[in-house]
Symmetry: D2
Subunit: 352 residues, 4 copies
């Protein structure tokens, strides 16, 4: 703890959208103080050169990434880097006693073979990786509380797993029938300039991408398999939406018991998430809009049953950069520190 009675926190990879979300949220978090912002290409620049609107609130410079120095100054480190970098930094940070929250894919897989087959690279941090907990508090709250290393879920898996978990856990669906049709704003693609994410290209258009081969698939499947008790393949199709933030996952699955009605399922979902302050189950006939969740750490879930087809349709909406990324990491930090799970996180969106 530092002089202010707050935990000292560092962010490696502060220049991207994940980084700026963390900065923004942690600025208003009563339990922490940001003492370090790290980056590579932007090292040496004031943070406000990258985000001028924050000049009045953030008076920090981007510093080079020096693990020893970071460990000395920070009790907690958020790694917000491209895939494949965190596992080169985390082991040392952990050894020096830091708590580490990684926002990349590096520590999301208990099976490193799965990681390597989808992301490539060689991993010699097997033992460290084995200590990592998957940072989805609604499923792994107790483990996160004990963790020193948390691998925070991707944005798509968060939305999708919150929609699917009660069904799988309770054995209500035929797992193999699960289809996830996900829609994301373009900020999920990051701040790197890419042609297909230009406003001129992406506005007023909708398309699927990485059909049947998006890297979030194995992450979703690993957790689904654990919940189902056997290996499950799910169909996952991401789509790019002409909007900045937000993910909607529309999930389809065949009910084992075709007699279940919508209200039954809403009761089951409400019970499943009774102690989950960031999940809101909507009343019958109300379906979530991504905008409702934007600027908050909430996940809104709507449930429908089609008696004609014996399918359940679950829709979940989150802010991809908050509950889908930085906010969830902070929710995990709250648990790791023994704080209230909601501490310092926004719960009401600005609407419209």
């Amino acid at each position: 703890m530092n002089e202010t009675g707050r935990i000292s926190v560092g962010i490696v990879g502060a220049s991207g959208y994940g980084g700026v979300q963390l900065v923004r949220l942690l600025m208003e978090h009563p339990g922490v103080e940001i003492v370090y912002l790290g980056g590579d290409s932007s090292a040496g620049k004031p943070f406000s050169d990258l985000y001028p609107h924050l000049a009045h609130a953030v008076n920090l410079q981007i510093e080079p990434v020096d693990v020893e120095a970071i460990a000395k100054r920070c009790q907690v480190v958020f790694l917000s880097l491209p895939n494949g970098l965190a596992y080169q930094l985390a082991p040392t940070l952990l050894e020096k006693g830091c708590k580490v929250l990684d926002l990349s894919a590096d520590y999301r897989f208990s099976n490193l073979e799965t990681y390597k087959s989808w992301y490539g690279g060689s991993r010699c941090d097997k033992e460290v990786a084995a200590t990592a907990v998957y940072g989805l508090p609604e499923l792994y709250r107790e483990r996160i509380k004990q963790a020193q290393l948390v691998g925070c879920p991707g944005c798509y898996p968060t939305a999708s797993l919150l929609a699917l978990s009660p069904l799988l856990k309770q054995g209500l669906i035929v797992p193999e029938t699960a289809i996830i049709d996900a829609k994301s704003g373009t900020s999920g693609g990051g701040r790197q300039a890419k042609t297909h994410l230009l406003l001129a290209e992406a506005d007023n258009s909708v398309a699927a991408y990485n059909v049947a081969r998006h890297r979030h698939t194995p992450e979703i499947e690993a957790i689904c398999s654990e919940l189902a008790g056997h290996d499950v393949f799910v169909q996952f199709t991401p789509h790019l939406m002409p909007m900045v933030r937000g993910i909607l996952s529309t999930v389809y699955a065949t009910l084992r018991d075709p007699g279940l009605v919508r209200e039954d399922l809403i009761t089951i979902y409400s019970a499943f998430y009774r102690n989950a302050p960031w999940v809101k189950i909507l009343p019958p006939g109300v379906y979530p809009q991504t905008k409702w969740a934007c600027g908050t750490n909430l996940c809104y879930i709507g449930v429908e049953v089609d008696p004609r087809t014996a399918r359940v349709i679950v829709m979940s909406a989150i802010d991809n950069l908050i509950k889908g990324q930085a906010g969830q990491a902070i929710q995990c930090l709250n648990l790791m520190m023994g704080w209230d799970e909601t501490l310092g996180l926004p719960a009401i969106s600005f609407y419209p």
Copy 2:
């Protein structure tokens, strides 16, 4: 034929988006001349009061809807009205010898009981309705050529059926597994002012609506059942997108033969649509963007197979107001008149 050697055409319901599309497209169609624009609340106004940008091109007034007068002046009549009105006008127009193209749901159902259970109303035009042909040229080209009355498909059914038809017709999928996750721009909701279609509400947000009960479901199912040879229920979920025009249908289904690969299906689709000038099958790994189709009568189709799940994923993109509405009606007119199917219809979008 009028003095110009062109067919005289009238549009009833010219003030809405369907109407203005028809006007815009027919203005550039070499075979027709618009001689009548009809409307109710806007009767008496110059058309350019409603659409000032067309003042230089359209010098017509909206006139009251008088069936006798319309029939006298028009060889062909487009009905672009809310559901439930066309069937009060069409019988007389047909009797007087007009060809009629209805853009509402009134003449899309061979089974009027289905119509009444989804749309209400009482129908005493059973015999007339029995002569109506479903205006999807890619499936019913020959019948349309002979028709005097065409019930033009809805926007969602057009995109969805063009994606599903080859699979059902060839018996490649288990029909009951078909799931259609459709995404539409807000212009599909029409020009009537509705709160949820305000830019302030609909922009930067995505949500499903009418889940498991959208009125386009029975229309899709009727054709699917015909193609499959037995009654089929399909799962259809429409979503509102933060964009003006365009529909993307993402269709999922389980393959009967899990050995089929993507290239097989692309070959099958290409063959199925060999003589369909408005359907373009994309090469392997290319998925359609709605923007590609905007401002054209095209339907772009991309096909993917997921060997892990034995599912086919088909994505189809159209302009909801052209191939999904006015353009398709004109494509039908071309067939009814014995003209080339592509006559007067735009085939290249403006991009970006």
Copy 3:
């Protein structure tokens, strides 16, 4: 003060965008408790029927507008109604001892003749109106502290006056040369369904409206005239932008002293707003983006000088629904209550 030690607050006109902003902001304000939400057409409905995403946070019903009952329950009343209604409610509320903050145009004019010539109606509340203070804290902080009735500025005047005031107050420009080219998101038009505010109409398009006759003109001119010390006409042109929130005012004026450079003016602006926590003057060469201000009560101001033309160009960006409406009203409340001007108001936007 109520049992919680908080001030009891009511909102009349809670169903619109002004209302929902007030609700959202006041929910997180530590000094107040919302005890009453009033509305006309929506009376009797739970507030969450109108805004389902707030169901978890707001458990209040819309009640009919009964002035006596409101005065009994509320120490402070926000009036968020169409123009012409507040002056029928405010006198009684004031008489009963309430503090009143009006978000409409009714109490923005010290000269009621100006009000009547632009807004119509007859006013018999002349004495009450004479006590109203114009709720722009950056100019009238001390008067607002003493006020019982505040007429909160319009969104355009807020952005425009914050940009112009230092120039006029210091006599730096020729007042008659002032031109305000303002750009607003569509939420400024309210939640009432209007055709031209539909996403299908307003998206991907830009246009001016009410050129040379927008009702915010006299409001801007009244304050400008006061600052200049003589009557001033300004050119004010509002434009509708294809976006939800935000106003950018680009202000042009001819400098009296063509030798002034950008840095001089930035110094002058910084001094002028030294004690204004909600105004941020940007460094040389940085121009405000509306998105920076969205979700906050901030006004960002950028200043440029064109030595070739001897003009100053000032750009100011605000969130039209916060600093341009509800946030500013709460800023005024803070002053009226003797609280810190920043209490309970958001200062950091979510970006992107």
Copy 4:
């Protein structure tokens, strides 16, 4: 002329937005045939790799830029390249007998010193540059007809000059009072990936850029000075809009004769543009929306007078990529070839 009786046309720089517009428009132009597409980084690729939606319509490869080969195959060459490249190609092409239309800034300036001071570079093509005609047909129709080399105007100058020209030419305004507040879609920034043009950055935001120093300023001033008969500085401020296409120029100027009313000016504008088929003067009280012009070569102009300030406000709307770029170049080509000025160019937008 080639075998088809059409003029053979080449496009150098076909991969960008200017290039794809030219391709799209020239595909439907009855007088030309595209025989060559040239590019640098994309040489060797099929054009449809860059724009897959055009695969069915364009069967051409991008070829390396070899001036000799181009001149041999093409009668007309469009240069759609970054500034500073055209003047290295044009002299040879002209010498070999090609007609050349340059879409960059290279040949827009009769005074090369102005060019060099704003764009840099050294120019040794003074004699060639002296033969270039500024490609704004509404002002220089006759000269364009005779030209072999046309320097096509920028998008901002086109919108701005069409709005200002009648006022300057007729001496109706004090030229020094002219202020141009211009709003552009992001496609004006090209297809190169740049962070500030990402949808995540540019959507739902508005900002000015290059205030008092945008490179289109000298181009506007050169023509204004010619029209006014003496050197004129104009205030020009570009703004980035959250939309794909379109420019709106809002132009302010002080009338010499304050007695002029709106209707007078509309009459003057209508007369000025009597023979300009691509300019449409709107009736009193109607202001142009950019969307009206999108997908067309039209410029819509609305005129307002504010008698209180003695200013005229003129609003002009164009599609920045058509009338502001590729369409205008083709309009020039039509004149150079002795064809009708409207040949092959779209005149009706798709709305909404």
